[in-house]
């Protein structure tokens, strides 16, 4: 007869050790797959539903062409995206392939989290040679640009027409742009705002600095501008805050996760030109147009083509070959270009660009980037470590400014303190 207590001891021990053994016994994934036994790679990106749908199509196409590889897709919105990546990186479990932003390339690349893509087979012969360095750090290639984007002012022609406001021609100073925003707010009686506070846009601040030939960061990674520059910038719309020219931060918060412009609450917005597809989808507008950003120097718009996103692979991926083939496909394949059009930006690879037909609003984006060609300056280097954090704190402090929680001086002090603290931390 089985003794009750011994029996229980045995069962308990057995269960515990089974769990331990099961944990040890994970089979290691195969290096290469076949059609019958495909390898699986994980791919993650940020974006809205529009991008999710396009990406799913691209993945299906890739799987059809590469039956030996399966791709698991996953996406979130931009802020949460980076929190997730940090958690995964800390645990050594970054997805095999990821959509990446220039702002975070150094944070992860310099800290050996990303695969040097020059060690795997990816065809970059169709890329503009001036663009590739923006994915490289200290001679290693961490990211391949999928596409380029540039800053622009969006506006909705139908909304302007209904208010009887002439469409802008895109050569305007900041004062003229401010006057435009005020006109929208006044004529609509507050029903439609001019735009969201453009001085809260970190990249627009960088462009304004470039318009005055100031580099935002010095070569040794310090701040290249002064507190007074920042104050001057935030003061540009000091008289507009709290008027119908600029939408309140309360409204913006309520509208999240949609943007103010995408929710038809504003008539214009200063941002990247590849947001076109997202805005069209969100707002349901028939047509949106793009013009260059304001500048007080008509010959220097401070504009540049930025890799709108990069494809990167985890340094720890067990399927380097599959990851490389997926990246190559995503950046070079003409059919992928057809799927994304300009929603990722204008395709960076000539093969993909030439293989894509751009019509309607997509053509507007392509034409816009062509039209500003003569103003373009070199693509920026991968920004300093912590650039993404600086961008987030810039946005947050600008919002505090619009809530009236701080004045411009207080906001500039707060941002400089955070920025200097961060630069010191990462030194």
């Amino acid at each position: 007869m089985i003794d009750r207590r011994n029996f229980l001891t045995t069962v308990a021990l057995g269960t515990a050790s089974a769990a331990v053994l099961a944990a040890c016994g994970q089979p290691s994934p195969a290096q290469t797959g076949s059609a019958d036994n495909p390898v699986t790679i994980n791919y993650t990106w940020w974006g809205n539903d529009d991008r999710a749908e396009r990406t799913r199509k691209a993945i299906a196409l890739f799987e059809a062409k590469n039956p030996d590889i399966k791709v698991n897709g996953n996406f979130t919105d931009f802020p949460a995206y980076w929190q997730k990546r940090a958690t995964e990186a800390a645990g050594g479990g970054l997805p095999d392939v990821m959509q990446w932003d220039l702002s975070y390339l150094r944070d992860y690349g310099q800290r050996n989290q990303l695969l040097d893509l020059s060690t795997v087979k990816i065809d970059t012969s169709a890329f503009d040679k001036s663009l590739l360095p923006s994915g490289q750090i200290r001679g290693k290639t961490y990211g391949i640009p999928t596409s380029t984007n540039a800053f622009a002012v969006y506006y909705d022609p139908a909304k302007l027409a209904s208010l009887g406001i002439a469409e802008p021609d895109g050569s305007w100073t900041y004062d003229e742009y401010n006057a435009f925003l005020t006109e929208v707010g006044t004529k609509s009686g507050g029903a439609l705002f001019g735009s969201s506070d453009y001085t809260s846009v970190w990249w627009m601040f960088n462009i304004w600095l470039r318009q005055q030939n100031i580099e935002a960061f010095t070569e040794d990674g310090k701040l290249g501008f002064s507190k007074d520059d920042l104050k001057e910038w935030w003061n540009k719309v000091a008289d507009l805050r709290g008027t119908p020219a600029i939408i309140s931060e309360e409204r913006i918060t309520q509208l999240l996760p949609k943007s103010a412009f995408g929710s038809n609450a504003t008539a214009s917005e200063v941002t990247w030109d590849n947001f076109m597809a997202g805005y069209l989808g969100d707002s349901g507008a028939k047509e949106l147009k793009l013009v260059p950003v304001p500048s007080d120097d008509p010959d220097n718009l401070g504009l540049f083509l930025k890799p709108s996103m990069l494809m990167v692979a985890s340094a720890k991926t067990k399927n380097k070959d599959a990851a490389a083939r997926f990246i190559d496909f995503m950046v070079n394949d003409p059919e992928v270009g057809e799927i994304f059009k300009t929603s990722r930006g204008v395709p960076a690879s000539k093969t993909q660009r030439d293989g894509t037909t751009f019509e309607g609003t997509d053509k507007l984006v392509v034409d816009y980037e062509k039209s500003i060609e003569k103003y373009l300056k070199d693509a920026p280097e991968p920004p300093i470590v912590g650039f993404g954090t600086l961008e987030a704190s810039f946005k947050r402090i600008s919002a505090d400014l619009n809530f009236g929680k701080v004045d411009v001086n207080g906001a500039a002090d707060a941002w400089f303190k955070e920025a200097e603290d961060l630069i010191k931390q990462n030194a």
Partner: protein
């Protein structure tokens, strides 16, 4: 709460109580520990271990990727020069100070209503308890956000009565009331405990008081409150500790950013942002340990003051 791991209750089928042999007791103990083993392993590997390493990390500069650099007390010192940190303390303290008493008052009030014998009490008890089962979930936070958004049910309901506040979610001065309502709504757990405590109060006490002409208020303060004081103390302690740890709702309602204007920057949310958005794990660890210390001190103060107002049965007082 120190329960011996020994399996104290023996098989009831044994014929006669026999004096236990020490060898048998040893087997008992071993079986007990064996059953505890999975939990113990988890406790050591998933709680104690991380706590110790986080204590170490709190004295370092650690960005998740590179080895931690020892910097002594720098993290703790810079906490007190960090305006966002002080803001997060302010937000959390006001949540605890206002939310917890209101929640407990609601719980006690409803428990007293449900204590009387009426038809359908079982249904009401379940109905009032339900929110605390689902309240901490992600979906409720999303529902809450929708309810309190622009032209959400709350906005429209108040507008009907001529109160035009707009959406609460985007208004920095309305987010705290919104969070307090969310926690008060989840009063079910303390309510059930109050209810159990109320059932323990002998009915004779109330009868005797009625005979002496005591009204309901008198009865509450002279019978219910002192008789219930151990339960009130327990609930106060648990809910206070719990309130300090609010995270899920804050994270979801503010899109993980603590906005608008930092009005929902709860302590744990800022801790998370510091660690996982800014890669300042050492700093985040220092924040975590400071919270442990503060909650510990508050608990200690509660226990100290409890002597003067908590009455246990059998106390000579």
């Amino acid at each position: 709460m120190t329960q011996s791991p020994t399996l104290s209750r023996r098989s009831t089928s044994s014929d006669l109580p026999q004096p236990r042999k020490s060898r048998q007791r040893g087997t008992d103990t071993r079986a007990g520990y064996t059953f505890l083993l999975p939990w113990l392993l988890g406790f050591i590997a998933l709680t104690i271990g991380p706590m110790i390493s986080s204590l170490y990390l709190s004295f370092t500069n650690y960005n998740l990727f590179e080895p931690p650099k020892w910097i002594g007390l720098d993290n703790y010192i810079s906490l007190f020069q960090d305006e966002r940190f002080l803001q997060s303390v302010g937000v959390t303290v006001s949540y605890v100070v206002f939310g917890t008493p209101i929640k407990l008052a609601a719980a006690l009030a409803v428990a007293m209503l449900l204590n009387s014998k009426r038809k359908g009490q079982g249904f009401y008890r379940s109905a009032f308890y339900a929110p605390s089962l689902i309240g901490a979930s992600v979906s409720i936070a999303i529902v809450w956000k929708a309810m309190f958004g622009d032209s959400g049910p709350v906005d429209q309901g108040l507008s009907f009565f001529g109160i035009n506040l707009g959406g609460w979610v985007g208004n920095p001065s309305m987010t705290m009331p919104m969070f307090i309502l969310l926690t008060v709504w989840q009063f079910g757990a303390p309510m059930v405990i109050f209810l159990a405590g109320l059932k323990q109060i002998p009915g004779e006490l109330y009868e005797a008081a009625s005979m002496d002409g005591a009204g309901p208020i008198r009865k509450f303060f002279n019978i219910t409150w002192p008789m219930l004081s151990p339960v009130i103390f327990f609930n106060l302690l648990m809910e206070t500790i719990h309130a300090f740890q609010i995270f899920n709702a804050a994270y979801i309602i503010s899109n993980g950013e603590g906005g608008p204007a930092g009005s929902t920057l709860f302590y744990t949310l800022y801790l998370y942002l510091r660690g996982f958005s800014d890669f300042r794990m050492g700093y985040a660890s220092a924040m975590a340990w400071l919270l442990v210390i503060v909650v510990g001190v508050i608990t200690l103060i509660f226990f100290r003051t409890s002597k003067s107002w908590v009455h246990y049965s059998g106390d000579s007082k």
